[in-house]
């Protein structure tokens, strides 16, 4: 039974003469245009998948020999001597710095971004919401080096009193301990804040898109029940926008995890001889900033392989984060249409 999509429920049933249900896409007409476009689309798809697979393969192939020569535990060691007769390297410091800066950035940027998006779509008068939305989109396009430089030269000086106040009040918790070194703007906490500033426009822009699409009927349904504006947002806007907020957060997190230049500018590297610190006011290096800092030293395959292994962990980390987000969105799917 032909339909506009070429398939219908009838196709799923065996026909009266016992013919098995159709399997192929019957929308294809077999005309030249159809065949060219179909071929192009399929070719692009195959190309992308092949590229990703090859990148993964390359990373693994380069990393494995180095990992096999590694005399320290790759996941738990804090050492980083990737070359020589006795290569010893581990990523625990990098993992900690990467995760803590990204989580800090998310904790700041997601609630703030959602709030800004709500303001632009639900509260701001029309003459303000348009320019405000454009401004946020523009901010999303600012190159990260600009944020890094701004943090280093301008905002960093204002962070010192904040760091002092926080550590003097909450310093008894190891998480907030700070003895004045490294300088305030070289700490993980400040790097997290700069990352938050950097991903805020992305989170805001995507959330705004989704909130603007909330059907007016849902909003009116809530208002007609006697919901206040905030209750309407809670009942109609936020649930509708939830998958969008999660996507926005994940895109932001992806950028925060992989951000290189700004973080490299700011963070002060730790000596491996220093004791491991849980404090957000400690220094450190993320995966990306460590690779960028040492980019000049990739002279042997062994050494390069160690850095690539670190990059591979970053790759896997972002992959896990994205998969987790997918699961969250899928689980509520029945309730979102």
């Amino acid at each position: 039974m032909p339909t506009i999509t070429g398939r219908s429920a009838v196709d799923e049933l065996p026909s009266a003469d016992g013919r098995p249900p159709l399997e192929a896409d019957t929308a294809t007409t077999g005309r030249l245009g159809d065949r060219i476009f179909g071929g192009l689309a399929m070719g692009s798809g195959i190309l992308v998948i092949t590229l990703v697979a090859l990148v993964g393969l390359f990373l693994v192939a380069q990393a494995v020999p180095s990992l096999l020569n590694n005399n320290a535990n790759f996941l738990t060691s804090r050492e980083w001597v990737p070359s020589g007769a006795d290569p010893r390297f581990g990523i625990v410091d990098l993992l900690w710095a990467t995760i803590i800066t990204s989580i800090l950035a998310m904790l700041i940027a997601v609630p703030l971004g959602v709030a800004v998006a709500l303001f632009i779509t639900q509260y701001a008068p029309q003459w303000l919401s348009k320019p405000a939305a454009t401004l946020v989109d523009l901010l999303a396009a600012v190159p990260s080096i600009v944020y890094g430089f701004w943090g280093l030269k301008i905002a960093g000086d204002y962070f010192k009193p904040v760091a002092e106040a926080t550590s003097s009040v909450l310093g008894w918790i190891p998480f907030f301990r700070w003895d004045g070194t490294p300088s305030a703007k070289s700490t993980l906490a400040f790097a997290g804040i700069i990352l938050a500033v950097m991903i805020l426009p992305i989170v805001t822009a995507i959330s705004r898109e989704v909130f603007a699409q909330v059907p007016i009927t849902h909003k009116e349904g809530a208002l007609a029940l006697g919901a206040t504006k905030w209750e309407m947002i809670r009942v109609a806007v936020l649930p509708f926008g939830k998958p969008g907020i999660i996507s926005a957060a994940m895109l932001g997190l992806g950028r925060a995890l992989g951000e290189t230049l700004a973080v490299t500018l700011l963070l002060s590297a730790l000596n491996t001889s220093d004791a491991f610190s849980f404090s957000v006011f400690g220094g450190g290096e993320t995966f990306a900033s460590r690779i960028a800092n040492d980019a000049g030293e990739f002279d042997s395959a062994q050494k390069t392989g160690a850095y690539i292994a670190a990059g591979l962990v970053l790759f896997i980390l972002t992959f896990i984060v994205n998969a987790a987000a997918r699961v969250v969105i899928e689980r509520r799917k029945a309730f979102s249409e």
Partner: protein, 258 residues
């Protein structure tokens, strides 16, 4: 529970645009009043002023008075949110909250009112769904999403949601226009039942529907293109459909309109 609505000299504006002018009518408690008229004549706009929903549209405001028994809905001290809690509304397109289960949809209004007791909520959910003639169809799947129901069921779910908060008045804005004839019949039967407890005002494009369900009918029309809409005539439904006082009404109901 049901209250009487008095509308006096009501002019409705969107910004500088006067959408409707000079509406005066009375709706008796426990009765059904139907608003009929061509598209764009302001009948939905008038309906929305009865629970201040027209204010949701930027620039929406009114001159004149609307009173519910002796309460002025547009008094300075009156909170539109409070008005909407007393005057419920059902829309043209069924709009259950898509992220909520059937149960949560019905309980949404109560939860907004701060009622959290599970037993109370369950009771009200059952009573409202029964009131909306939907209970038997959904009692085994209260935790399933409301958006999974058929269009007619969704609309009855919306009616259940509206009556769950015990409104004084129930407004319906073309509640059947997106439904098939069987579902329409179910809603019309329901309106007949609701009349025993609530004051109902319904906007409809379907004149047979107005004749079937209402006690009183109000006919709205535009004076001319670009002019504000106005109330041409309001009277008992029987009189409107058999012996209207205005020529325009007769032309409209007999299909000789325009």
């Amino acid at each position: 529970m049901a209250k009487r609505i008095d509308v006096k000299d009501l002019d409705i504006y969107y910004g500088d645009f006067k959408a409707v002018e000079g509406v005066t009518l009375t709706v008796e408690p426990r009765s059904v009043t139907a608003f009929i008229g061509p598209s764009g004549c302001g009948k939905s706009t008038v309906l929305r002023t009865l629970n201040r929903m027209h204010e949701v549209i930027p620039g929406g405001r009114v001159d004149g008075t609307v009173t519910l028994d002796d309460q002025d809905l547009y008094a300075a001290s009156m909170d539109p949110v409070a008005v909407r809690r007393t005057v419920g509304m059902v829309f043209q397109r069924p709009n259950p909250f898509p992220t909520m289960s059937i149960r949560d949809n019905v309980a949404a209004g109560l939860k907004l009112n701060g009622i959290k007791n599970k037993k109370t909520l369950d009771e009200v959910v059952e009573r409202s769904l029964q009131g909306a003639n939907l209970w038997n169809e959904v009692k085994d799947r209260l935790d399933k999403p409301g958006a999974g129901l058929s269009g007619g069921q969704q609309q009855r779910l919306c009616i259940a949601r509206a009556i769950a908060v015990d409104p004084q008045v129930l407004l319906m804005d073309e509640p059947c226009s997106a439904l098939d004839p069987i579902s329409t019949l179910a809603i019309e039967d329901l309106i007949n039942d609701l009349k025993s407890q609530y004051t109902v005002v319904i906007v409809t494009h379907n004149m047979q529907q107005a004749a079937r369900v209402s006690d009183q009918t109000a006919f709205f029309n535009l004076k001319a293109t670009g002019e504000p809409g106005r109330l041409v005539e309001v009277a008992d439904t029987q009189k409107i459909f058999s012996n209207p006082s205005e020529k325009a009404t007769e032309d409209y109901i007999s299909g000789r309109f325009g």
